[in-house]
Point group: C2
Chain length 219, copies 2
DNA sequence: CAATTTTGTTAGATAGTTCTAACTTTTTAC
DNA sequence: GTAAAAAGTTAGAACTATCTAACAAAATTG
C-alpha cells in the first residue's frame, strides 16, 4: 500500500504524464514543491515498490500498477469533491483542499457509499472525469472556448484549471457547468470573446479565461 | 498543530486519565500498542509542545491545552461517526475505523457542515458525548444495567465498550440506543439479568453485557 | 564544438516515530 | 527490609521524507 507521500507523487505523475507517459525529475520537483534530490530518492523508492520505471538521467514512467494506483486516488479525490458539493452544500471553489486530505483515507466502503448516494457520477464538480473502481478513466475531448467560432452555441462542460481564484471569477459571472453560451464575436487583436448567456446580457471573456473553459458545441 | 501521531497519543491520554488526570507510561504503551521507550520519547515531545506535564518516573498529566486538543480530536471523531450513521446509512458497528482516520482531517468547515446538517448532535451513535467547539465535554452519568434493581424500567442510553463484536452482539438482539427495557429478575449466582423489551419476549443478558450497557432509569 | 546553462545525482545531515538491548528506579511480596 | 518483579529510562539503530552542498551529465547556444 502506498504511503500518503507516495500517493501524492503518483497522482502528480499521472496528471503530468505526456503522450509518451514520461515525466522529468525537475518538473516533478516543481510540481511537488520539493528539491530535486528529494524527488531522486523518492523515485527510487517508487520504483522499488513497482509503481514506476526509472533509469539514471531518464524521465520516469508509471507502470500500469502505478497508473491504476494513481487513478484510484484521483477517484477518491473527485468522488469526495462531488460529495462535498452535492450532498454537503459546499461551493466548487471550496472543495479541493478538503478532498486533498480525504483522498488518502483507506476505507473502500466510505467511498462506495458516497458513490451510491450520488448515483455513480462520472464527473467531478469541475467537469473532470471520475475514474471507475478499476482505475479506468474515460477520456472526453472537449474544445476550449478559444477554439470555437463566432456564432456557435456551446455548453460549459469542464475546466482546464480549477484554482480557487478562477472558480471565484466564474462564480462572479455566474458561469457554472451546464451554462449555455452563444459566441457573439471574437476580437482578433487580443483573442477575447463576447458571449451571451441564455437569459442574461452579453459578457466579454479574456483569452486567458477562454483557454480555461472547456465546452461541448451544441449548435 | 499536533501531528497525527501526537493527536492519537492525546486522545488516548484523555480517555485514560483517572480522577487525578494521571496516566502511566506502561498503560499508555499498551493502549497505543508501542514499546515503553517509544512512549518515553513521545511524552518528552508532547511536553516540549505543551500538551502535558512529565517528570521522570512519574505518570503524565495533560495540560489544559492538551485536554482541549484531545477533546477537539474526539469531537471530530464523534461527529464523523454520527454523520456516517445518520447521513450515510452506516451501521454503528462500521464507523469507528473510518472515523479513526477522518478525525485527523484539518478542515474546520467540513466538520462544521456535518454538525449543522445533523442539527448539532450532543452524542455519537454509541451514546458518547460530543465535545463542543471549545473542547468542553458535557458529562452525563448513567448507571450500568448491572447496577439496576429488579422491577426498574430503563432506557438504553450509551455503552462503556464499543467494540465491533459487542455492537454486533447488540444488533443480533435488536438492542439499540433508546430501547426501553424492564428488569424482570437478576440471578444472584452469576449476576445475569432477565429483561423484557416493550414488544418482545424476554431476554437473558450476562454480567459482562450488563456492565457494558449504560441506562437512564425511567421508572 | 566548446562554453555555459540546465538537469540530475551523490553524499551527508536532520526531524519524526519507531525499535531492541541494557540498565536503573520503583513497587511488590515474602 | 531485602529480593524479585514491574515499570521506566538511556543508548543506539532503522526507516521515511526531507534538506543543502558539491559534483556530474546532458542540453543549449553562440
Amino acid at each position: 500500500m502506498a504511503s500518503q507521500t507516495e500517493e501524492n507523487y503518483l497522482k502528480s505523475l499521472f496528471n503530468m504524464a505526456n503522450e509518451a507517459g514520461e515525466v522529468n525529475i525537475s518538473e516533478l520537483a516543481q510540481q511537488m514543491q520539493v528539491s530535486m534530490p528529494t524527488v531522486n530518492s523518492m523515485v527510487k523508492t517508487l520504483q522499488k515498490n513497482g509503481w514506476l520505471i526509472y533509469e539514471k538521467y531518464k524521465p520516469v514512467i508509471l507502470t500500469s500498477e502505478g497508473k491504476k494506483e494513481a487513478a484510484l486516488v484521483i477517484r477518491k479525490h473527485r468522488l469526495t469533491e462531488m460529495f462535498l458539493v452535492n450532498k454537503m452544500g459546499f461551493g466548487w471553489e471550496e472543495v479541493h483542499e478538503i478532498a486533498e486530505q480525504i483522498e488518502h483515507i483507506h476505507a473502500p466502503k466510505f467511498f462506495e457509499r458516497m458513490d451510491e448516494m450520488m448515483g455513480h457520477p462520472t464527473v467531478d464538480p469541475h467537469g473532470s472525469p471520475i475514474p471507475d473502481k478499476l482505475g479506468r478513466i474515460q477520456e472526453v475531448n472537449y474544445s476550449t472556448l478559444s477554439q470555437c467560432k463566432t456564432g456557435q452555441l456551446v455548453v460549459l462542460a469542464a475546466l482546464t484549471n480549477s484554482s480557487t481564484e478562477f472558480l471565484e471569477f466564474l462564480n462572479s459571472r455566474e458561469l457554472n457547468l451546464g451554462k449555455e453560451l452563444k459566441i457573439l464575436s471574437k476580437e482578433s487583436y487580443d483573442q477575447s470573446m463576447v458571449v451571451s448567456f441564455k437569459d442574461h446580457a452579453s459578457e466579454t471573456l479574456s483569452e486567458k479565461v477562454c483557454d480555461r473553459l472547456l465546452v461541448r458545441v451544441v449548435g
